[in-house]
């Protein structure tokens, strides 16, 4: 075991020895990140508490419903854990950069596997466990359980996560013998996202908004309570459910057999994994390394494709597009966004405007105004995924840009241009289609199109600019860049920017619509106010487009490689 722990030490030491350097900036970052995580965690707890308390008040089926939800939650958590662990296992066991060094050590393959399994168990499950924990705690509060339930929770959740990691490792060990790890990771990401999109679209098309209708709600809840969730005695989620179920009913000792099943199941699976790893792990790793070297001698094409652009613009544009389309992991993201856009438009198509007690004209235009904010939030999310990591995605090849005869200003604005046009078309498309579905007045359509046109440069520039502040060029996955402090800053400032511009527009627009509805003329004061608000909004948009880019440029200029 000490040999295995030695292999884990390089991962542990930086965590144990890392201390904040004492700068106010670093403490501020830590404080902001901790606050956001804390707020999110407490939010999940409070929402769960509210929902479970509400369900428990439903006569006859309340408790049954809560237990059904618990079972569903555990089945979903198990599926998420297995999916997450498979991706982590593929990276940790076959694709990590330190593997050549580790495999050169005089250590048997099964020990390397065991050390990696420890890392996989933690990396693949901490997030699922951390954010399901407040839900389980809410169950404890609603069912009025105390310390004993608090002891049962880790006794159930820890082996639950370890078992999922061992099962995922077992699958990966076997699968890599048939399909190389690199290809398999892409396949899994694609399948996972397609499954998510399918589930998401199915749920949306089932029109869950009908639940708001009290008549429908009761029958649906009865239906959910009678649903047969997967409860095979072979599923670890069933063991976890049984252990938690009896603990919630005040009999923690009643779940000891299920807890023992979870722990012994983990032990058995791990034992099988170790045996298989001894036989297969090195073979699979060796095969993964050889998979990338398929050479086909081909004659060089001497013709260059014609292009609208020249010089550095063409260089960066073609590089960005080719790199994007040749990376299969990006395709799945495009599918996901396509699904989100379809759902977004569908939501407007099925809006029951006619059932509203408010005048349709007023409601249509109010929704069109809110629609601007929503579409810009969608843009922010897409920018965060694609434009924010644009600088970071240069990775260690960033030296090529640093030595090239182009200024950092030009580099950043070219990057901006690459993302600006498709994102502008997407957002304008969303606004025009949804406003057409809402049948809004020409004034609102014009205002929406103009507002989006003015704000898209600011949001894209914030994505590029904040992404250039502290890019980690050594990261294995640039798309994760947005999960850091600068990504958080980007999201918060984008929200503030959208909120500020819409707030400036709201007053004059409201008065304009009200005047139209009541057939009253607009006053001179309205015109003055509208101009002032418009000017302020334009200044905000210009500042959002220029300042982050200047900040990013300064950082990149001062940064070595």
């Amino acid at each position: 075991m000490s040999g295995v722990l030695d292999l884990v030490k390089p991962r542990l030491w930086p965590l144990l020895h890392r201390r904040p350097n004492g700068s106010a900036r670093q403490y501020a970052r830590l404080a902001v990140m901790a606050t956001v995580a804390g707020v999110l965690w407490i939010g999940v707890f409070l929402v769960s508490l509210r929902v479970l308390t509400h369900f428990s008040t439903i006569e006859q089926i309340g408790t049954l419903l809560n237990f059904k939800l618990l079972n569903m939650l555990l089945v979903t958590a198990l599926a998420l854990l297995v999916f997450s662990d498979i991706l982590t296992a593929l990276s940790k066991l076959y694709l990590a950069r330190d593997l050549p060094l580790v495999h050169a050590l005089p250590v048997p393959a099964y020990r390397i596997f065991l050390a990696r399994w420890i890392e996989i168990s933690f990396d693949g499950s901490w997030m699922v466990v951390a954010f399901t924990l407040p839900v389980f705690l809410a169950y404890g509060v609603v069912f009025e359980q105390g310390l004993l339930f608090g002891l049962v929770l880790p006794a159930v959740l820890v082996p639950f996560a370890l078992l999922a990691a061992a099962f995922s490792c077992l699958l990966v060990l076997l699968a890599v013998i048939v399909i190389p790890a690199t290809r398999m990771k892409n396949i899994f990401i694609l399948l996972g996202l397609l499954a998510f999109v399918a589930v998401y679209m199915t749920i949306r098309m089932a029109r869950p908004e009908q639940l708001v209708d009290p008549e429908v709600f009761d029958s649906v809840m009865t239906y959910v309570a009678s649903l047969q969730t997967p409860s095979s005695p072979w599923l670890p989620s069933t063991w976890a459910y049984s252990a938690l179920h009896v603990a919630l009913e005040g009999d923690p000792a009643g779940g000891l057999l299920d807890i023992a099943l979870l722990w012994s199941g983990t032990g058995v699976l791990l034992f099988v994994c170790i045996g298989l790893a001894d036989m297969l792990y090195f073979r699979g790793y060796s095969r993964t390394q050889a998979a990338g070297h398929k050479f086909r001698r081909r004659p060089l094409s001497k013709t260059r494709r014609r292009s609208l652009f020249k010089g550095p613009i063409r260089a960066l544009l073609e590089k960005e597009l080719k790199t994007f389309w040749r990376d299969q992991t990006q395709w799945s993201q495009v599918f996901l966004i396509a699904a989100l856009v379809v759902i977004y438009v569908y939501n407007f198509k099925v809006l029951p405007l006619e059932k509203s007690p408010m005048p349709t004209f007023y409601l249509q235009n109010l929704l069109a105004f809110l629609n601007m904010g929503l579409a810009l939030f969608v843009l922010t999310a897409i920018t965060a995924r694609f434009a924010f990591p644009a600088v970071c995605s240069e990775r260690e090849a960033f030296w090529i840009i640093k030595i090239a005869p182009i200024s950092m200003r030009a580099f950043l604005w070219i990057k901006f241009s690459i993302y600006f046009l498709p994102l502008l078309i997407l957002t304008e498309g969303l606004i025009v289609v949804t406003n057409t579905l809402l049948k809004v007045a020409p004034f609102m359509m014009g205002l929406s199109v103009l507002t989006v046109f003015a704000m898209v440069p600011g949001i894209v520039a914030m994505g590029i600019g904040f992404g250039a502040l502290n890019p980690n060029f050594r990261t294995e996955n640039p798309a994760q860049a947005v999960t850091g402090f600068d990504g958080l800053l980007f999201m918060v400032l984008c929200t503030a920017f959208i909120g500020a511009v819409l707030a400036l527009e709201a007053g004059p627009v409201y008065r304009f619509l009200f005047a139209q509805l009541s057939n009253r003329p607009l006053s001179t004061r309205w015109f003055l106010r509208a101009w002032a608000c418009g000017l302020l909004a334009a200044i905000l948009c210009a500042a959002a487009a220029v300042i982050p880019m200047a900040m990013g440029r300064r950082r990149l200029e001062g940064r070595g490689i």
Partner: protein
Amino acid sequence: MIELQSIIKTYGSYTALHGLNLSVPAGEIFGFIGPNGAGKTTTIKIIGGIMAPTAGTVRIAGIDMARDPVAAKQRIGFIPDRPYLYEKLTGLEFLQFTADVYRVSPDVFGEKALALLEMFALAEWGEELIESYSHGMKQRLIMCAALLHDPEVLVVDEPMVGLDPVAIRMVKNLFRELAARGITVFMSTHTLAVAEDICDRIGIIHRGRLIAEGALDDLRKDMAGGAPNLEAVFINLTQAPGENPVADRPT
């Protein structure tokens, strides 16, 4: 062609370069050697415009790097020691990318790229993705890219790392040819035999200071009692009596 004046570079409280002064004329192959952590790569990065000095001036072909970095960089071909490239491009696409960035005329690109790929034995792999290249192939592709725009100055960090003996000989001959055509080659290396073989002048940097500079014969003669080769000169100058030869500070 390359002029460094009073270059100082600090990393926090650590000073990597202490007022470095250096001048390399056109058509010279200058070898830059020194122990690990002496400041070689920092100097190379400052010459290439990758890193700004804390103080001092860098001029490339008379152009101040701080004032007009774009014009200065247009005259440099840079070859780093680690060949990080855009892995999802093919070799030929990477050369097209480089040609566009350095504004190489489309009329000459095709022939030039083909000639360079053939010279570096990459012509058959030009349409393959770079991610499938070996370390040596990537290094050779970077050399192709560095020469594509006819630089006046070639800055090379460890030119022979990852190359096979045939490629090493080819690169040595190439550097001589380039120098004969008036191109300045500034190269940092740990391979003292290569420096002895092809460099017109050699500079030895130690703890951020240029402690010796001159032709190989002059350096050897300057040693008390003479030195048989560059290795002896290097060890004599950089290792104090009783000093651990591998105990250097990282940069």
